[in-house]
């Protein structure tokens, strides 16, 4: 019985939150990796692009709520995803045409493109703040919990309760669906294969008749879908605040590089590596150990490896360690 209780504690406080957070990171990391692999630059506007898509979802959610449309027990924001994605893709294509295209055609070095993306980051932040303001916004409605701790306790008779928030379930399910479709697209369809070919060797891909314009267009569309969905899921789970989204760019980068940048599978995996490391290293294991250990060995302290303040620092330290020992990432990514 104690063992089951211990497992429930772990599930409740570490594994489910880590899976949720990891899914959000994974979507962002695949976005970074796709841009890096196909358009060949580190996109510093990542966080703000995700925020831009989410902004539309927030505004549309408010609008839908005001005219009385709802999605039953699911959050209204899910209904707004297609519209938000559409606006996001429009914005990305606009940015691409006005800004990135020039440097791509000129074949500028990646550093210059990264610098340009810093400019895009500034502009996007300004646009977001001017439209929606910098404040914290919650836009979650519908059922908050799928499983409440008290219900679970009654159901099973255990001492520990298991809580599953609806946002956690939604995040995990949607991520699995989106990522599955995306991998199917990249591996099985002709367009997906041509994108991978373009990413591996641009010249050879051009020789074999792949249209670079189409590849770039499709990349931005996929990027728009991933960025918007990732952003909305994060916003539903926590809350929407432009500054936080900008900061999220850093663990997302860490996830993409840890997994091996340019490699979508790596990025997907990297998101979970970062999330699990962050949560497992900052969790206070006292409650878990109380169940597992005999009474004489019960710990006095919280048994926390690092304080939760260092959450971000952990993901960055993992990145540094990976960069030192395996610079191309856990999965083989692009050569550095």
């Amino acid at each position: 019985m104690d063992l089951i209780n211990a497992v429930i504690v772990l599930l409740n406080y570490t594994i489910i939150p880590a899976l949720t957070y990891g899914s959000q990171l994974a979507l962002g990391a695949i976005f970074v990796t796709l841009i890096y692999g196909i358009l060949r630059f580190a996109n510093f506007a990542t966080g703000d692009m995700m925020s831009f898509g989410t902004m539309f979802a927030v505004l549309l959610t408010y609008y839908f709520q005001s005219i009385g449309i709802s999605f039953g027990f699911l959050p209204t924001a899910l209904l707004t995803i297609p519209f938000a994605i559409f606006m996001m893709i429009l914005y990305m294509l606009l940015i691409d045409q006005t800004v990135f295209k020039y440097y791509r055609i000129k074949k500028s070095p990646p550093v210059q493109l990264a610098m340009v993306s810093v400019g895009v980051m500034f502009v996007t932040q300004a646009v977001i703040r001017i439209i929606i303001g910098p404040t914290d916004r919650r836009f979650l409605d519908g059922e908050k919990f799928i499983l409440k701790a008290t219900e679970f306790k009654e159901m099973t008779g255990l001492a520990e309760g298991l809580t599953i928030k609806s946002t956690q379930m939604i995040t995990i399910v949607i991520t699995i669906i989106v990522v599955a479709i995306m991998f199917w697209f990249l591996n099985k369809t002709k367009t997906g294969t041509s994108m991978r070919a373009y990413s591996d060797n641009e010249d050879l891909a051009l020789l074999s008749g792949i249209d670079p314009k189409k590849v770039v267009l499709i990349t931005w569309i996929i990027a728009g879908i991933l960025a918007t969905i990732g952003g909305i899921l994060y916003g539903l789970d926590k809350s929407y605040r432009p500054f936080v989204y900008f900061n999220n760019m850093l663990p997302i980068f860490a996830a993409a590089i840890v997994g091996g940048i340019g490699n979508p599978y790596g990025a997907f995996f990297g998101g979970y590596v970062i999330a699990f490391a962050e949560i497992f290293l900052t969790y206070a294991y006292k409650r878990f150990l109380v169940y597992i250990l005999p009474e004489s060995l019960e710990p006095n302290s919280l048994m926390q490896l690092l304080s939760t303040d260092y959450k971000f620092a952990i993901s960055f330290s993992i990145l540094v360690i990976v960069l030192i020992f395996r610079p191309s990432g856990i999965f083989e990514g692009k050569r550095i």
Binding site: A42, Q125, R129, I130, G133, D309, F312, F316, V320, L323
Partner: protein, 456 residues
């Protein structure tokens, strides 16, 4: 002389703008902007050494700035004896353990051949060391932080003069740059950018959350100043006399003696703040000029030519027998040290250390915009970039407000769009800086004052 014409023109325009702020807003604001421009200029000089001379991209400027600020606290604040007596020994032991860890790791790296065994040994040393530190430091930190937490709760500094901390700030930053350089300099440019950015985040989060070191997010206020305090000036007779002489015409217009006294008091208060800022401006100007002379000399020395050669073609320079790795590390340390000095200057100017305010937007990306806008590889350009971008960053809100009012003049005061736009005026600075960067990158990628190579 003709070579320098564009530089002189650009700088004159910049000075004119600051003087205009002085006339239309107030001299105190103008001097604040000027001082911050100067601090930004030092930061850009540092970043320009790395990017312009050597082509190394360092997005970790925030971390070095924060370390420079930390140096001010650790050097100038008076020590807290109670905290030292309860936890000093333990903290010093931990410092000793860290030093032992470093040296034993170095010893292993030197004397054992590259193998799995070596990796395990190093990992073992680090893990054992960290556990020891956790056991020894844990209770000590709690005790230190319990010492009068509202006011101190940290070890305090050395109580030395604050100007000394500018050098220490440079040294701290150089130390960090050495570690970062050893870890990350082999990476390709955009990886280097990300790695340095993330390492800077780690540094800032340590400063933020280790309260025993510099109070963390509780901030350290009331730092020492190398300039006189306003309050002292307002009560010292020589200063009041000076203000009286300076404004005698205005004072003579006063009708009665009491009115004259009121005007004089107000003038003294204004003048004291201007005087203090002028003192800072003078000190910063000295630093900027010294750094400018050194960097200018270095740029046109054989060493500068070698750096440019390495930047433009690493393989060729390496084939000519130049040690690229070593030079990269050296210039990375040098540039970071200058940024560290700027960080210390900034905290000295503010008189307070607020670790929570170190954010990548303000301390990394804006500085980079300065470097690119000003002109990479040209020190005069870098300084100008610091001035122009900081000026825009500060004055963007008033400028935006002016234009919003201009374009929405026909709308009533209660119009929602107008109110919303006026409320969001502060965010136009992001727009202005971002569009400025994009335009410069597109139409003048070499910057306002481009790099100049003197042919001999």
């Amino acid at each position: 002389m003709r070579n320098y014409l564009n530089i002189i023109v650009a700088y004159s325009i910049m000075m004119l703008l600051i003087i205009l702020v002085g006339i239309f807003q107030s001299w105190s604001i103008a001097l604040t902007i000027f001082n911050y421009c100067m601090i930004s200029a030092v930061m850009t000089l540092g970043a320009n050494i790395q990017w312009g001379y050597a082509g190394l991209i360092n997005f970790g400027i925030m971390g070095y700035t924060a370390l420079g600020g930390l140096a001010v606290v650790l050097v100038s604040v008076a020590p807290v004896p109670e905290a030292w007596s309860v936890g000093g020994v333990n903290m010093m032991t931990c410092l000793g353990i860290i030093i032992i860890m470093i040296f034993s790791t170095r010893y292993i790296l030197k004397n054992i051949q590259k193998s799995k065994k070596r990796n395990y040994l190093i990992a073992g040393i680090i893990i054992v060391g960290l556990i020891l530190i956790k056991i020894i430091a844990g209770p000590a930190i709690e005790q230190i932080e319990a010492v009068d937490p509202a006011k101190t709760g940290f070890l305090g500094g050395l109580g030395l003069p604050v100007l000394f901390s500018w050098i220490v700030g440079g040294l701290f930053a150089a130390g960090l740059a050495f570690i970062v350089g050893k870890v990350a300099l082999g990476l390709r440019a955009d990886y280097l950018a990300i790695a340095t950015l993330l390492i800077a985040e780690i540094v800032v989060s340590i400063i933020k959350h280790e309260d025993w070191l510099a109070r963390g997010v509780k901030n350290v206020i009331g730092l020492k100043r190398p300039a006189p305090y306003e309050i002292d000036l307002q009560t010292s007779p020589w200063f009041i006399n000076l203000v009286e002489k300076f404004h005698s015409a205005k004072l003579n217009l006063a009708n009665s003696l009491s009115e004259r006294q009121d005007i004089l008091n107000q003038l003294v208060i204004d003048a004291s703040s201007v005087y203090v800022k002028l003192c800072f401006a003078g000190m910063f100007l000295v630093v900027v000029i010294i750094l400018l002379i050194i960097t200018q000399k270095a740029l046109y020395s054989p060493w500068g030519r070698m750096m440019r050669a390495i930047r433009d073609n690493e393989e060729a320079a390496s084939a000519m027998g130049k040690n690229v790795v070593k030079q990269h590390l050296f210039i990375f340390i040098l540039g970071s040290a200058i940024v560290g000095i700027a960080g210390a200057m900034m905290v000295t100017n503010d008189g307070l250390f607020t670790p929570g305010s170190y954010r990548p937007m303000r301390y990394t990306f804006v500085i980079w915009v300065m470097v690119i806008v000003g002109g990479t590889g040209n020190n005069f350009g870098a300084i100008l970039g610091g001035f122009v971008v900081w000026f825009l960053w500060v004055e963007a809100a008033p400028i935006a407000l002016f234009f919003i009012n201009l374009f929405t003049a026909h709308l009533p005061e209660t119009n929602e769009i107008k109110i919303h736009l006026i409320n969001s005026a502060p965010y136009f600075r992001f727009l202005l800086v971002g569009i400025g960067l994009l335009l410069i990158m597109r139409f003048r990628p070499q910057g306002i004052i481009p790099e100049k190579i003197i042919k001999q």
